[in-house]
Symmetry: C2
Subunit: 332 residues, 2 copies
């Protein structure tokens, strides 16, 4: 189905993390498959899971909007959040759309399919698993923390925690096919433990990555997350990812070399978030090839009216620049 639609690129990640990448990639190929992590259970998504028994729509929604060719209004609509003091307070419209469709069609993939048509997307958005599961973290004392939202708020104190999914989740066959057919598999930046980990921990993902002929590229985060990835350098992120995959499967690690402005760094420092360090000596000896490039957006302060998600964060990837680096890898 995706034959002759250009380079086949699979992007694995959550919503916010994949957004810039997908938004950049869609201008270069139609052969995009966004494989979406399905462990989110916070905010609007959490309520929809609890009250409607829906699969988590939030990250799917963000990927759909990123790949959309629709008008500004339609994209805005999907990200629109109802006012806090209203009956649907804090719910995003796109989440309601997906969950309502899921209830009607009794099929989450079908719901995503209808939304894909409505938003006229490039490529496709595929849940990495269709099993309804939660992310569980085991802390040093063996205590289990049972949802993504709580894990986001936890502080690891520099320790590497153990994670698993409950119940065990199996890879969506469509996701497996996409990985096996891909030219490039990109592991998107974003929340390492609460987005990428639960995607990689789905049964079958690691195996598919092992069997796939695709180049596997990790696009490294730009900043650390307080309590979780403090002090992390590029290779620490890469190591953690391979811990979740279970093998040394990364072919490339793409990292940013351009420092954000002092002003921005100061603002982040107040939240105890810092630029990810680069230890070139370690990267040179790594089994993967580490490629440094300027990957952050130069128009940091500019608001792109088409990308509301970009307005939330300020140190961010430039989707176009990352896309070009990925294509360079493909053609080298």
């Amino acid at each position: 189905m995706l034959e002759s639609q250009g380079i086949k690129i699979v992007v694995i990640g959550g919503g916010t993390g994949s957004f810039a990448l997908l938004n950049g990639l869609k201008h270069y190929t139609q052969g995009i498959t966004a494989l979406v992590s399905m462990a989110d259970d916070g905010g609007s998504t959490g309520v929809l899971r609890d009250e409607l028994g829906a699969l988590p729509p939030g990250d799917i929604r963000q990927c759909l909007v990123a790949l959309s060719r629709s008008s500004y209004t339609m994209r805005e609509l999907f990200n629109y959040r109802f006012p806090k003091n209203s009956f649907a307070g804090g719910h995003s419209f796109g989440n309601l759309f997906l969950s309502a469709l899921e209830k009607i069609t009794e099929s989450f993939p079908e719901a995503v399919g209808v939304a894909s048509e409505v938003l006229n997307i490039v490529g496709r958005v595929v849940p990495i698993t269709l099993d309804n599961m939660r992310l569980v973290m085991e802390d040093e004392a063996g205590k289990l923390l049972r949802n993504e939202h709580a894990i986001s708020d936890a502080t690891f104190k520099g320790k590497l925690m153990q994670f698993h999914l409950e119940p065990k989740a199996a890879i969506n066959p469509t996701a497996e096919e996409a990985i096996l057919a891909a030219d490039i598999v990109v592991l998107a930046p974003g929340d390492l433990y609460t987005s990428l980990a639960p995607a990689l921990l789905v049964n079958g993902v690691s195996k598919a990555l092992g069997r796939a002929e695709a180049k596997v590229v990790y696009v490294c985060n730009l900043v650390t997350t307080f309590g979780q990835t403090d002090e992390f350098a590029v290779h620490d992120f890469a190591n953690e990812i391979e811990r979740f995959i279970g093998t040394k499967r990364l072919d490339y690690v793409l990292y940013n070399t351009k420092a954000p402005s002092e002003e921005l760094l100061k603002r982040y420092a107040k939240e105890k978030e810092f630029g990810v360090k680069v230890d070139e000596a370690i990267l040179e000896t790594a089994h993967y090839q580490a490629i440094g490039a300027e990957l952050i957006s130069e128009t940091i302060q500019a608001k792109d009216p088409h990308d509301t998600l970009f307005q939330r964060t300020y140190i961010r990837h430039d989707g176009e620049k990352v896309a070009k680096q990925l294509l360079k890898l493909y053609f080298r």
Copy 2:
């Protein structure tokens, strides 16, 4: 814009009342304009008006679905109601869609335009006014009853009540143009006092009907409404409509001649609702031409999976049959 799109038919009414007509007409002409009454303030629509300051979406939604060429799933989605026990309990998805878009675009017509594209409708759906108003009824004692919902529940005891809109509402210029350009203006069946009256009472509607060259046709209700139109015959409905228009503007009155099954009539009688009587002697002397025809659906018990609204009621117009009668009038 609607030139060369076939016969130009304007249908004035609420949601449920216009549904069958629009659904039937869309197969015969693309030149349909559904002019929608804007006084609804009950249920999901009422909450959206109160909590979001939105214009009433419910009747607009039903007309959009009636005119939609989209898949069954998309039409189902717009009519989907979230489960009672969920945060969005009882809200229809289409209402949320329209109200969210209205907030984003800050324009109700623009919101309706986007929804029209998404639902791929035939013709167009136009709010009869863009003013935020309520229907007010003055009872015999001069007491004011201040919303459509309360008026629906009131009992008139056979008296003809006075109605007005608060604040005064002006006709939407697009609605006025449609009436002036129409070949046929259809006054749809439905709630006489809470759907058709507040549409006809909008300032400028009566004047536009007076100036228009269109034939004006009233498609009479099939059953009476307890407390409001008890004992009404066809000519009583027609008289009330002309009372709201303010002149004897009806050219034709289309009424049903085929009795529903005994079983159905019994079920309705339990709700104190009865078939509308036909007094042929009076109709023969009327200034309008009264045309009797078989207008009810023969497949009364059959569920049409594409028309969920039809499943609510059982004595109903057959949209196709009504459409054919209207076209006959045009070509005679």
